[in-house]
C-alpha cells in the first residue's frame, strides 16, 4: 500500500499542474486587458498599470508568468490582490471558518443520514421507511438556498433562536443551522444509500451464515450487515469532504459566513484574478488529497481491495 500511495501522490503532480494552468490561462491569458474596469470609469494610470504589470509578471510569456506564479505558490506565497492585500492572508482568514462549517456539515450528514438509513432499512416497509423516503425526497428536491432561506426566516427572524447573520469568528454551535443546510442534500443521499445498501445485504449469503451460526441478532445486524453496508456510504462521505472543503457559496451567502466560498464569490464578482487563481489552486490540492484518502480508506474497509 505504501508504494501505491507514493504512486498516487506522484500522479497528483500532473493533475495539479494541468488544472492550475488551465485556470491561470482562463483568467489571465484569455483577456485582452486585465485592467479593464479596474479604475472606475477612467483608464488606469500608466504608473498603476506598470506596477501591476510588474507584480503579476505580465510582460513575460504566459507560460513563464505561470511558472513564476507556481514557484511562489509552492513557497506559500499566493500573491496579492489588485488592492495589495496578501491572498494568503485572505485564505488564512477564511479557511478555518470553511473547515469548521465542513466538519459540522459532515458530522450532521453522517450521523443523521446513517441513523435514518439504518432505521428505514431494518424496519422494512412501514412508517419509518416511508417517513425517511419522503423527507429525503423533499430535501433532494429543494434547492439549498430555499432550505437556507426558510430556516433563516423561521429560526432566525420568526422564532429568534439563531442569529440571521453568523459572526465573523463563529463557534461550532453557531454553525449548526448553516451546517445543517449545507449538509441537507448529502444527508438525504446518505440516508438513501445506507437504506438501499442495508436492504441489499439483508439477503446476502454471509448474513444468512451469521444467522445459521446462532449469533444474537444485535451482532448479525451490527457486525455482519452494517459493516458491509457502510462501505459505499463511507466512500460517499469521503468524496463529499472534498466538496465541503471547497466552500459553500450559497450557504455562506445566506448566513453571511465569511468562508472560502464567499471569497471565491467576491473574487469573481470583483474580477480579482489573483484571489481566484490562488483559491482554486488550493482547492485543487484539497480535492485531490481528499480523493486519495477516500481510495485508501476504501482499501481499509474492504480487504478484498488491494492496491499494489
Amino acid at each position: 500500500m505504501g508504494r501505491y500511495t507514493l504512486r498516487r501522490l506522484l500522479q497528483l503532480i500532473p493533475v495539479f499542474l494541468g488544472t492550475t494552468f488551465l485556470v491561470y490561462w482562463l483568467v489571465w491569458g484569455l483577456r485582452e486587458d486585465p485592467f479593464a474596469g479596474k479604475c472606475g470609469q477612467r483608464e488606469c494610470s500608466p504608473a498603476f498599470r506598470a506596477a501591476l504589470t510588474e507584480r503579476y509578471n505580465l510582460d513575460d510569456p504566459l507560460i513563464v508568468q505561470y511558472l513564476k506564479y507556481l514557484g511562489a505558490v509552492l513557497t506559500g506565497d499566493f500573491g496579492q490582490t489588485f488592492s495589495g492585500t496578501e491572498v494568503s492572508t485572505l485564505i488564512a482568514d477564511a479557511y478555518p471558518i470553511t473547515i469548521k462549517l465542513a466538519i459540522v456539515a459532515l458530522v450532521i450528514e453522517a450521523v443523521i443520514g446513517i441513523i435514518a438509513g439504518v432505521v428505514a432499512g431494518l424496519r422494512g416497509r412501514g412508517f419509518a421507511d416511508t417517513l425517511v423516503l419522503v423527507s429525503t425526497l423533499f430535501l433532494i428536491a429543494l434547492p439549498v438556498f430555499v432550505t437556507g432561506l426558510v430556516l433563516r426566516q423561521v429560526l432566525g427572524v420568526d422564532l429568534g433562536i439563531i442569529r440571521t447573520s453568523v459572526p465573523a469568528n463563529p463557534s461550532f454551535a453557531e454553525l449548526i443551522v448553516p451546517g445543517f443546510v449545507l449538509a441537507s442534500l448529502s444527508m438525504a443521499y446518505v440516508a438513501r444509500l445506507t437504506r438501499t445498501s442495508l436492504i441489499e445485504n439483508t439477503r446476502a449469503d454471509f448474513v444468512r451464515t451469521a444467522v445459521a451460526k446462532g449469533l444474537p441478532r444485535r451482532r448479525v445486524v451490527g457486525v455482519h450487515m452494517l459493516r458491509n453496508s457502510l462501505i459505499p456510504v463511507v466512500t460517499f462521505l469521503g468524496t463529499d469532504i472534498g466538496a465541503l472543503m471547497g466552500g459553500a457559496i450559497v450557504t455562506e451567502g445566506v448566513f453571511n459566513i465569511r468562508g472560502i466560498g464567499g471569497l471565491i464569490y467576491r473574487g469573481l464578482q470583483q474580477q480579482d484574478i489573483a484571489t481566484v487563481v490562488g483559491v482554486v489552486a488550493l482547492l485543487v490540492i484539497v480535492y485531490l488529497v481528499a480523493n486519495l484518502v477516500v481510495d485508501l480508506l476504501y482499501a481499509v474497509l474492504d480487504p478484498r481491495i488491494r492496491y499494489e
Binding site: R203, D205, V211, K213, G214, L215, R219, R227, I231, R304
Partner: protein
C-alpha cells in the same frame, strides 16, 4: 428413542396470490445419530428450502410455512420461541453452504468468523476464542492454521475455503450437520477430499449428517439412506444399494440414467446418457395426480387423476408411484424407460 431430526409433512409456500409457489408439499424425513441421509433431486425441488426451514433461516417473507412439523430430539421447532431456536443453531444443528465464498463475510478474517461463535456463544475472551479457531482449522486440516486464521476468505483457495466453512459449522460441536451441496462449487479433485473429510468428521463426532447433493457417486459411498425429492415431495426413500439396484420410482431411475456412473460397468462403457425429458413443473401450477406424470413414460390414466402417496414397499423402502412394486421387481437391469416406450 426419538430420532435426532424428524421432519413431517412440511409445507412451505413462496409469494402470494395466483403466483404462489408451493415449494414444499409435505416433505418428511428423519435422521438418526451418526447417520448420513442424502437428499437428491433436480434443481428447484426444494432441497435447500427444507434445510432452511429445519435450521429456522428461511427467508420469510417471501417464504411461509403453512404446515408440518420439525422435531429435534423430539422437541417441536416450528412455532418455538425464536431465542430457543437461535440457541439450537450452531450448538445442536449447523449448516454448511454450497458457495463458501459468498457464505463467508468478505470483510472479516476467517479466524474472526470462527472465533465469533466462541466469544458470543461460549463467552470466551477474544484471545482464547482465536486459539480455539486455530484448533478448528487444524482439525479440518488446513496447513499453517496459525497464519491462515488471520487471512480473509478471498485469500483462501476454493477447497480451503470450504474447509474453513466446515470448521466454522463444527465450532460449537453440533449433533446434526446439514451440508447443502458442499462440493458442487469445487474442482473435481478437491470434491473427493472434502467429502472424505466430512465423512470422517461425522464418524469421529457421531453427528447426524444431511447431505444435499447432485452427485450420485458420493451418495453411494457415504449415505446410509437416500431421500429423492421431486416438486417439493419425497418421491422415494431407501438405502443406497436398493436405490441403485431396484428403484421404485421412474424419476429415480431417470436421475440415474442422466449422470455418468463410473462404478457401474453397464453405464461406464460409453452407454449414452439420457437426461430426463421435459422440465420440472412450475411450482405455481403443479400438475394434478402424480406431479411427475407429464414427464413419465409409464403414466396411465390413474396417474393423471390420483396423487400416489409415499408407500411402504417393505424393508423401509418407500416410493410414491402407483406402480412402484412393478419397477422394484424389474430392477435396473431391465430396459430403461425410453427403450420400453420406443420398443
Amino acid at each position: 428413542m426419538a430420532a435426532l431430526l424428524e421432519v413431517e409433512d412440511l409445507r412451505v409456500e413462496f409469494g402470494r396470490g395466483p403466483e404462489t409457489a408451493s415449494v414444499l408439499n409435505g416433505v418428511g424425513y428423519h435422521v438418526d445419530e451418526g447417520e448420513t441421509l442424502a437428499v437428491l433431486g433436480e434443481s428447484g425441488s426444494g432441497k435447500s428450502v427444507t434445510a432452511q426451514t429445519v435450521m429456522g433461516i428461511l427467508d420469510a417473507p417471501p417464504g411461509r410455512i403453512i404446515g408440518g412439523s420439525v422435531r429435534f430430539r423430539g422437541e417441536e421447532l416450528l412455532g418455538a420461541d425464536p431465542e430457543r431456536r437461535r440457541l439450537l443453531r450452531g450448538e445442536s444443528m449447523a449448516m454448511i453452504f454450497q458457495d463458501a465464498l459468498s457464505a463467508l463475510n468478505p470483510v472479516y478474517t476467517v479466524g474472526f468468523q470462527i472465533a465469533e461463535q466462541f466469544r458470543f456463544r461460549r463467552g470466551m475472551s477474544r484471545k482464547d476464542a482465536t486459539a480455539r479457531a486455530v484448533e478448528m482449522l487444524d482439525q479440518v486440516r488446513i496447513p499453517n492454521a496459525k497464519q491462515r486464521v488471520k487471512e480473509y476468505p478471498h485469500q483462501f483457495s476454493g477447497g480451503m475455503r470450504q474447509r474453513a466453512m466446515i470448521a466454522m459449522s463444527l465450532a460449537l460441536d453440533p449433533e446434526l450437520l446439514i451440508a447443502d451441496e458442499p462440493t458442487t462449487a469445487l474442482d473435481v479433485t478437491v470434491q473427493a477430499q472434502i467429502m472424505d473429510l466430512l465423512d470422517e468428521l461425522r464418524r469421529e463426532r457421531g453427528m447426524g449428517l444431511v447431505l444435499i447433493t447432485h452427485d450420485l457417486g458420493v451418495v453411494a459411498e457415504v449415505a446410509d439412506r437416500i431421500a429423492v425429492m421431486y416438486a417439493g415431495r419425497i418421491v422415494e426413500h431407501t438405502d443406497a444399494e436398493t436405490l441403485y439396484a431396484r428403484p421404485g420410482h421412474p424419476y429415480t431411475r431417470g436421475l440415474m440414467d442422466s449422470v455418468p456412473r463410473v462404478d457401474d460397468p453397464g453405464h461406464a462403457a460409453g452407454a449414452p446418457l439420457r437426461p430426463i425429458p421435459g422440465l420440472p413443473p412450475s411450482l405455481a401450477a403443479i400438475p394434478n395426480g402424480c406431479p411427475f406424470h407429464p414427464r413419465c413414460a409409464y403414466a396411465q390414466d390413474v396417474c393423471v387423476d390420483d396423487v400416489p402417496p409415499l408407500r411402504e414397499l417393505g424393508d423401509g423402502h418407500q416410493a410414491a408411484c402407483h406402480f412402484a412394486e412393478r419397477f422394484v421387481a424389474e430392477g435396473t437391469d431391465r430396459p430403461t424407460t425410453h427403450e420400453v416406450v420406443s420398443g
